[in-house]
Each structure stands twice: as C-alpha cells, then as structure tokens.
Subunit: 239 residues, 2 copies
Amino acid sequence: MKIDVFFTPLGSREGDLAGRGVVVIDVLRATTTIVAAIAHGAKAVIPAATAEEAVRMTANLERDGFLLAGERRAVRIEGFALGNSPLEMTPEAVLGRTVFLATTNGTPALVAAQGGEPVLVGAAVNFSALVERTRAAFGTSGDLAIVCAGRERQFALEDAYAAGRLVKAVKRGRRRADLNDAARVALGLTDDFADWETALGASAAARQLIDLDFADDVAFCATQDRFDVVPTYADRRVT
Amino acid sequence: MKIDVFFTPLGSREGDLAGRGVVVIDVLRATTTIVAAIAHGAKAVIPAATAEEAVRMTANLERDGFLLAGERRAVRIEGFALGNSPLEMTPEAVLGRTVFLATTNGTPALVAAQGGEPVLVGAAVNFSALVERTRAAFGTSGDLAIVCAGRERQFALEDAYAAGRLVKAVKRGRRRADLNDAARVALGLTDDFADWETALGASAAARQLIDLDFADDVAFCATQDRFDVVPTYADRRVT
C-alpha cells in the first residue's frame, strides 16, 4: 500500500488527489469542529474558502435552516452566529441545520481535497473510528493521501502528529507500505510525544489559542474518541 | 533569537522573508551544485525559475562568457551544456564563467527567497562554513529563516534534515530560541539519523537519483565540508 502525507494542501496540484482516498486533518480546530457538528446532528457542514464565500452561498437560503460559523485569526467572524469552536457545536445549536463554515486553514484544505474518493474528515476526537474506516476503505493495496491543513500556509505540528498516528495505525500488521518523505517523518513524530495532549501542547497553534482564552478548546481537541462518526466530504458538503 | 524553517518555499507570502536572514537549502542537488560551481571559480550562478527563463536571460550574451545548466526530472535539459550535477561543476567547465541554472526545486526556492538579507546558499558540502557565517550574521538576537527547496512542491527529508542540523548548530550555547513548529520537527530529525549519508539515503530524492545512475552525485552531496565558501544571492545573482 501507498501512503502519502501532505503537510499543507498547497503543494498538491489539480488532479494529485483525484480518485485517491483522502483524509483531511485540522486538529486545531476545523476538523474537530466539523466532527462535533455532525455528531451532534447538523444536517451538513459546508466548508467555505472565505467568509465572503460563506455569506454568498447562504444569500438565498431560508434563515432558519442554516448557521454561519467560522474564524479569522482564531476569533469568530463578525456577524457570524458561531466561531470555529467545537464546544459551540452543541445539539441545541446545530441539530437539523446546515452549518456554513469558513476557517483559515481547515476549510480551504477540504476544498483543495475535492476529487478524492472518499474524502474523510479526521481529528483526535474521532480517531479510532477514522482508523477503522480508513483501514476498511483502503485495504492492503490501497492508496491513501493524508492532507494536513497546516497553519497559515505552513507546517503545523499537531496535524503532522495526527497524520503520523494515522499512518502508524493504518499500516499496522502490513508488511510493506510505501511512504513518502513526509509520511516517514510524521510516523517518527509518534515516538516524540506521549499522547495527543503533549503533541498539541507543543504546537504554536495551541499556544495562540490558549493566549486567546481557548484553552478549553485545545483540551477538547486533544481528547481521543469523543465521537464515533467519520464525516465525509462530497459535492461540497460534509455529511 | 527566532528561527523559522519552511519545508517548501510555497507557503511564504510576498514580504514574509523581507529583511530577514535567509538560508536556502536544496541538498539534492541544486544548492550543492551552486556551492561547487562558486568554489571552482564560476563568476556567478544565475538561478532561473524555468529552462525557458534561463534561455531568455542569455539571449543577448556573448557565447563564451556563460554556460546553461539545469535539469528537468533530474536529467540534463536538452541543449544545455551541463545538468544539475555538482560533479560537472569542475574548474575546467566553470572557471570565470557565469552559469545560468534552471532546476525543478532549488532555483525556484532561491528566486522565492529574494528580499532576504542576506540570502545564503547552504548544503552539506559547505556546512561548517555555513554555520559559522550564519552564527556571525544573525547573532543572539537574530531572526533567521531557513527555506527548504523540497521536492515537487512537497516536503523533502534531506532538506529538512539539513535545516535541523543548521538549527541545532545555530542555537548551540544559546539559552532561548523561538522555533516555529517546522524548526522543532527539523531539529528532532537530527536525532533520527546518524549522519548526512543515512539521512540522504532515506530520502525519496536519493532513491530517484540512484535509479537514474546518479549515485555518485548522492555520495558527493552527502559529504560534509568539501568547500568553505558560502555563496550569497543578491540582485538575482549568486556569487
């Protein structure tokens, strides 16, 4: 089997991911937020590359059916109902509604992953379910691309660690796996940190979030297996 | 001091590197080739983003004064005098001449680093000189960006390892260094490999080069301190 990790979505060209199994990861916080929203009954999450795009997409919709959510510089976008916090995705807020989500790193990564088949949404909070689904979907001979959202167009430790955990889990018990350089380095990171909490805690993204009073978000995002859903992204909708 | 590593040049935006000290690294092979050319008496190396650009830049020059060099898919560009092999940059070939060099990863990385002050060209073959120059230039309070060329717009192990070696050497003896996530991970790689040879040997780029009969190039690129020059890039010229 072949596993490629991409530390940011930037390097992939049109078609690089077409027809491949893709997992998109933005642990802090977009994919965690999406998993929480879907687990709590959101009808769908629609990733938007920008706040403007999210607003445009909702222009002709009934007010009751949707929510605008998202952040710029980690803080809720003005005029949006919700930020990019998984803690805000309560059943009360999202049940039966479509969430239009615009974030700096995670939603552009999802948009860039269009063409993957399937495109799965991964995080620590749904990790075991993700592993099971990924192993089932890609089998021994599979071809898997793991796309890290990264941070401000750059490498992000927490996503690389998550990618490494996934590489390790997917190749377990398989004799041969063809890994690209990034997958090898991500795999190595799993030995450098004891658990999700220490890995996330070492990241620049966590430091920024804690400075902005989002320490509860970081703790939430670092807790493995809160949920057992694996959202999929197809036709511009996560369900 | 602050040290940021960029695993590819893609993520940096206009101005990100302006006024910062920058080291550009493409161990396999462009920056090794540039160091060899300058050490062997080339008047200058002019990096071109594409083969076409290299040809265009030389259109009105005297034939005797310059050489066209470069690769596409690791192989010499048709019609060019030299490939991207450091072994070709002999004194006989390059002394007193200007080398126009077009490569897939390294020369675009240099072009992207324009605006850095200074922009230094680093590789294993000039590593100790590079460390000395970098420590002298950026001092305790300095601000250093290390730009890895990467490979086909993606993370490349050999460049990340070189970046890690440089981070380690530059921060040695300094109490505090503010590292971005990529710099931390690069630093960790220095514990994962015994030396340049094993690090380069583990990379996908080396496997490709060896398949194409460039094993001698890989061995050359993995030998530390063949040269004591640190070329600098300014006004579109490496000297």
